[in-house]
């Protein structure tokens, strides 16, 4: 998998590069919009990460130009500017996803994974881990064959954890997946729901599947 980072800030670019290489990506870097566009057009990339504020040609212009030339390479936009309208602008320009700064690397990885999944059209309808199964269509949840009743929010939360395939899901990603909030609710909504879900899934069975990774978020996996 080859990935192009278009970012003028070397530190951010280096950080993104290291994190993505660890995930097994091959990473290239362009430090301005024009070079980024040239590289992208030359092709061979599976995904572009494009900062909106760039010297030369800005990120929105880059994506517009790329799409106008018929390239369909998936693009994730990164930006420190205002959130809501820039998201709309970015998606209108032809980006596939948008991530506002400051973001967590785990969030970025989640977006990258979900984009690849979207592109490869592989959607597991029935998830399972250990003796826990979850049917995405019917929301039927079983642990050790025993049926568990979940509320809508709880099943959305479980689905969001399953989709990450064992990786850590940040609080912000949980909030946007379960409540569709584009803001930080400031309350301990996520903690409360995780506790409720644990009560139903992990209390009477072992091993505990919902794990807290302090500072990062939550993960659904068998081993820490």
């Amino acid at each position: 998998m080859r990935l192009l980072i278009v970012e003028d800030e070397p530190k951010t670019a280096a950080l993104l590069g290291t994190a993505l290489k660890q995930e097994g990506f091959e990473v290239a870097w362009a430090e301005d919009g024009i070079k980024g566009l040239e590289e992208a057009i030359r092709g061979g990339f599976d995904l572009l990460l494009v900062d909106i504020m760039l010297p030369g040609l800005d990120g929105l212009g880059l994506v517009r130009e790329l799409r106008a030339r018929g390239h369909a390479t998936p693009v994730i936009m990164l930006s420190a500017r205002g959130e809501v309208e820039q998201r709309v602008e970015g998606l209108d320009a032809g980006a596939d996803d948008y991530l506002p700064k400051p973001f967590a690397m785990s969030e970025l990885m989640a977006r990258v994974r979900s984009l690849f999944r979207r592109n490869s059209q592989q959607k597991a309808m029935v998830h399972s881990i250990g003796d826990l199964t979850f049917d995405q269509a019917t929301r039927e949840t079983r642990r050790g064959g025993k049926r568990i009743e979940l509320s809508t929010r709880e099943s959305l939360l479980l689905e969001c954890l399953f989709r990450a395939e064992g990786s850590v899901v940040s609080r912000r990603d949980i909030i946007s997946a379960v409540w569709e909030y584009d803001f930080d609710p400031g309350s301990n909504l996520v903690e409360v729901y995780i506790r409720r879900l644990r009560d139903k899934i992990d209390r009477e069975a072992s091993p505990s599947l919902i794990q807290t990774v302090r500072g990062l978020g939550y993960a659904l996996r068998l081993h820490p």
Binding site: A104, Y181, F183
Partner: protein, 357 residues
């Protein structure tokens, strides 16, 4: 011409005119007496009583002069005071929103015109410093986002690296939590700075407020369950408003969250949504120690977190209510905070309803 010169000129004019009138009447009287004396001798002159003559002069000469002085002076004063009144009205209308509109000037170069010019310059400087403060917050929060992303990413990698020891991981996680808190504050500040500049993006649609309030009551029940707080939705009338669904959910959740955080174990929360005339009124009341009366007016201030005894141990940035207020006001609504006589705290939000067309 300066105002002083104008007043002086008019004053001298009125005075001269009065003198002319008095003079003319005296001349008329004296001429009459002289003619009578010439025709009838001293006898005729003597039948004139000096007191009566003086009275006549005062009555027919002085009175019109006084009337002229009063009427003219009144008109003059009105003319002279009108620009002052206009200026006062303009000053009264001045607030943060119209600092960039100058007060119209007469342009005649008098004292008041100069004062207006000075006032306009002051308004301009004030406006500039407001803009600068706003832009500073916006730029500062913008500039902080990139370093925060880098800090966040670096700490994340430290935590996830297998060679990190447990104690290092513990330290990195503690730092990461602080970075996240800082990120949240930066995000809220940039939201407020944008709202102040009138840049809050609102996607307006007709929003069924009763649905949002019902969802909220459910969410609040779950949030409050840990502290044995009872949540009741006393009334939920069907009412729709024109607004941004996401932002309205943000306001409601913030109010419910406060009602839980500033409550007491085993306390209660009451919510109600009513239609009152052309307004949809949402109110939320909670038990728990109320704010001291002298602090009530400050709850919507930025970074206000109550007195230390009240909110010291409660997590939060102190920006939640400021944000709620800015959202409600961007929707043209009002938000009010009060402590009820029974000691409960109440927040009321009023928004204009959408009338079925």
């Amino acid at each position: 011409m300066t105002l002083r010169r104008r007043i002086l000129l008019y004053y001298s004019g009125t005075l001269s005119l009065s003198l002319v009138i008095v003079g003319f009447w005296s001349w008329f009287e004296f001429t009459e007496q002289r003619n009578e004396a010439l025709q009838g001798g001293a006898e005729a002159a003597l039948k004139h009583n000096p007191l009566e003559e003086t009275f006549e002069i005062i009555l027919y000469g002085g009175l019109p002069a006084i009337l002229l002085g009063i009427v003219g002076g009144g008109l003059l004063m009105r003319r002279a005071l009108r620009p002052i009144e206009e200026l006062t009205e303009a000053l009264e209308r001045t607030d943060v929103s119209n600092l960039s509109d100058p007060v119209p000037r007469s342009g005649n170069g008098d004292e008041l015109d100069r004062m207006t010019a000075v006032f306009n310059r002051m308004k301009e400087r004030l406006g500039l410093s407001f803009t600068q403060a706003r832009e500073f917050t916006l730029n500062a929060s913008h500039e902080l986002k990139t370093p925060l992303t880098i800090m966040h990413g670096t700490l994340e990698q430290t935590i996830l690296r297998s060679e990190t020891t447990d104690s290092e991981r513990e330290g990195a996680a503690a730092l990461l939590e602080e970075v996240q808190r800082l990120s949240a504050i930066v995000g809220q500040l940039s939201f407020l700075a944008r709202a102040d500049a009138g840049l809050m993006p609102l996607t307006r649609e007709s929003v069924a407020l009763h649905d949002l309030v019902r969802d909220l009551a459910e969410e609040a029940t779950i949030l409050a369950a840990g502290a044995d707080i009872t949540v009741t939705l006393t009334e939920c009338q069907h009412v729709s408003v024109s607004g941004d669904r996401m932002r309205l959910r943000q306001v409601l959740l913030n109010l419910a969250d406060n009602a839980v955080k500033y409550n007491e174990h085993g306390g209660g929360i009451e919510m109600a949504l009513q239609r009152q005339g052309d307004e949809a009124v949402f109110s939320i009341r909670n038990t728990g120690s109320a704010l001291a009366p002298d602090l009530e007016a400050r709850v919507f201030e930025r970074f206000f977190r109550g007195d230390p005894a009240h909110g010291g141990a409660i997590e939060g940035s102190g920006l939640g209510l400021s944000i709620a207020k800015s959202i409600v006001e961007a929707h043209g609504g009002t938000i009010a905070y009060e402590v009820l006589p029974d000691g409960r705290t109440q927040v009321t939000v009023a928004l204009a309803v959408v009338l079925p067309s």
